[in-house]
């Protein structure tokens, strides 16, 4: 019953902004002038989108939780989950862009985008109602109670991540003070650059796309007791695999994009296999073998990019991917493409695999207690192999997102558009508490830092790579339970 009320309210809330858009109902829309001297309109629906966003988050957690409760996964739930996630991000984008447009007096035309978000919200509400109707009220009540428990369970890891992030930002500020920059202007430029307008936010999401995937590589490794830091090299190889199929071969439209993506994932796995086999056969620790293969991948891919797949006439780039192998742009003025949906679907798929199937259960058991897994008859080698294969698939797909899903549509011979994305995944996985869905949120945060970092460099002259340093501090803080134990006591 309660859930039904929440759902109805959320749907009403979804449609409210549309009502308010009609200026005749509630007076004039505000007209403001931005820093470049252009007039723009602040839609009045803004304040109403925030609760929608919050409701979608609750809905999302509910549906995620029903994955967990109902072991047999219903296809409807899966569809709802994906839609909800898209809706959440879209409506957050809308809310944030409008809110920040007011604060920073900078914005653009984003009504259309907001409408997409609202439409998805409405669709999600409808789906939730359908799901609700399919279940008994008592089950629903129980789910709601469980969900509140889950929310309480989520509070602690979220707070821990937030504290670690704050420590990172604080130490970053100390570095800035020590070298004579103004941290307040720098950080406000950082966040303005990351979330200050709709195009900035779309760019942030575009930065987040490969990061959520490389985070999966590390997170799945941790779940199976491995320290897989090979995403960097696997990503390079995956990217060149995407160029080889997407740029050098002509295929029919629909098939081409799929083939190029699959090729990237295949090459990613190919580069992960030696590590897995060395681990299984020789017991070679994956930290050393992955790093060595990262360096080999780097030189190999540069060689292929320069000698085999170079663009005639401009050797600093590889062949451009053909238009039939490109994911389409979602909006003008930002490099966000539909590949983000593929990436999120992959994350959700990994989540379902890990928490919804026997294979995933075995993988996690090997990670938490290898001895117990061994005596329970789990094939440890298969679990380790599976973990590396998932990692390779994710990293290869991350390579594809940079080549097939970003307007450069190629790989730079210096690897400039892929370098560092694999290592960034480590920190994102840790901030997202080694969870595929947590990784999505963490990647949006860190994607914002990366994108906003460039604006910070432009405004304040602070070298944007400071952001990477801040991530290092966040990782060290997250590694140290003693720093976070004060929180632990509070949330016990």
């Amino acid at each position: 019953m309660l859930l039904a009320i929440v759902l109805v309210l959320s749907i009403v809330a979804c449609f409210l902004p549309w009502l308010k858009m009609d200026a005749a109902i509630l007076g004039e829309e505000q007209i403001k002038r931005d820093i470049y001297g252009y007039d723009y309109i602040v839609p009045l629906g803004a304040p109403y989108t925030a609760p929608v966003a919050i409701l979608s988050v609750i809905g999302f957690i509910l549906s995620a939780y029903s994955f967990k409760r109902i072991q047999r996964i219903r296809i409807l739930n899966v569809v709802a989950g994906i839609l909800i996630l898209v809706g959440v991000i879209a409506s957050f984008g809308y809310t944030a862009s409008v809110a920040f447009a007011d604060v920073f007096e900078k914005g653009g035309s984003f009504n259309a985008w907001g409408d997409y978000g609202m439409g998805l919200e409405a669709l999600f509400g409808l789906l939730m109602i359908i799901i609700g109707a399919l279940q008994k009220p008592r089950v629903l009540m129980k789910q709601l109670l469980d969900a509140t428990k889950l929310l309480r369970g989520l509070a602690r890891p979220t707070a821990e991540s937030a504290v670690a992030v704050l420590i990172g930002l604080l130490i970053g500020a100390l570095f800035m003070i020590a070298s004579g920059y103004d941290p307040v202007t720098a950080y406000s430029a950082l966040f303005k650059g990351a979330f200050g307008s709709l195009s900035a936010l779309a760019e942030t999401l575009s930065f987040a796309t490969p990061l959520m995937l490389t985070a999966i590589t590390f997170a799945v490794g941790v779940k199976s007791g491995l320290f897989n830091i090979g995403a960097e090299g696997q990503l390079y190889v995956g990217a060149i695999g995407a160029v080889a199929v997407g740029g050098a071969i002509a295929l029919p439209a629909g098939l081409h994009i799929a083939a190029a993506t699959v090729s990237a994932m295949f090459f990613g796995v190919l580069w992960a296999l030696p590590v897995a086999l060395l681990k299984i056969w020789r017991g070679a620790h994956e930290v050393i073998s992955t790093i060595m293969l990262n360096w080999v991948a780097r030189f190999l891919v540069i060689y292929i990019a320069i000698y085999l797949l170079a663009r005639p006439g401009s050797a600093e780039k590889t062949l451009a991917t053909l238009p039939s192998a490109r994911y389409s742009l979602l909006m003008s003025g930002a490099s966000l493409t539909t590949v983000i949906f593929v990436a999120m679907a992959f994350c959700i798929g990994v989540y379902i695999l890990l928490w919804g199937t026997k294979l995933g259960y075995e993988l996690r058991l090997v990670g938490t207690n290898p001895d117990a897994a061994h005596y329970a008859g789990v094939n440890t080698r298969r679990a380790i192999l599976l973990s590396f294969v998932i990692g390779g698939l994710a990293a290869g797909l991350a390579g594809a997102t940079q080549v097939l899903g970003r307007p450069a549509w190629c790989l730079y011979a210096t690897l400039g558009n892929v370098i560092g994305l694999g290592f960034a995944g480590i920190g994102i996985a840790l901030i997202g508490r080694n969870h595929p869905i947590g990784g999505i949120f963490a990647s949006v945060f860190y994607g914002g830092m990366l994108h906003g970092g460039r604006y910070m460099e432009y405004v304040e002259g602070v070298c944007s790579e400071l952001v990477v340093g801040i991530q290092g501090v966040i990782i060290i803080a997250l590694a140290t339970p003693a720093i976070l134990s004060i929180l632990r006591r509070r949330f016990k």
Partner: protein
Amino acid sequence: MRKRVLGFLVALAAIAASLYVLELAGLSPAMLIGTTLFAMTPLVFAAVGECINEKAGIINIGLEGILLITSFAGVFGARHFQNWAAGLGFGLLVGTLIGFLFSVISVYGLADQFVAGIGINILAAGIIPYLLMAVFAFPGLHVLSEGLMVPRISTPLGSLSPLIFVAIIAAVLAYVLLNKTLLGIRIKAAGEKPEALDVAGVGVGLMRVFTSTLGGALCGLGGAFMSLGWFGAITKEMIAGRGFIALAVVVCAGLNPLWALAASFIFGFADALASTVAITPGVKEVIPFYFIQMIPYLVTLVVFAIAIAKRRFPQAAGKPYVRE
């Protein structure tokens, strides 16, 4: 043990064979051995420190980051005091500090040492380009003036840095420390049976803080050597995986500092081979530059995969000790 000797002899034979081939190609073996000694030194410093460290039960995979940070610290100190010795000292100091902080968070903060180590690497990868920009106002690179480099001494193998001999002496001293002194026994006990050491009235944490600080100091000297004694410059990608190659050295050497010296020589030769062959006229037309660049990493991977079998590690390695 016999297998290890055999493996080393095979590697030496391979090195001798490649030296012979290169002499036919017109390269001087003496020069190549000289470069090998340079390439070996940061590996020796980092690996010897890490051997002692892992004997006491602490695994620090942040060597790469410490090398990068301290090579910057060396340049900064040398520039600031206009003196190469002060630069070396500053690098050593910063390395000591990082080693100390790492031990504090892993011993008293019960940190996951792998995660904290990778955190150091990522911190270094971000903060060094930032500092290069903030301090020297040039992106990603700073070249030292000639007078600030560690002076070299001329030998039959060409002019060598005195720090090469310091590294060799450090490896021998570390071997003596671990195997011939009471402190060495206590260090090994901290890694093998921390409970026993605790019962004997020696602080496990103290031992681990000591080894990690010592390891950091040695690594710091290695980093300062990279910039002040060898390259005469710092770039943001100068370390290029040497920290992880040092980890492979530690594993191949079975935590024995003298074997670490031998393994560093092999990996250092691969490094020197790549950097020498890559600029040799006549070779680079046949083998592409990028394939030559892969040599050190492939050699490390292959040697590591062969040498890994049946290596025994201290039982408590990587685990924080909590008294029950």
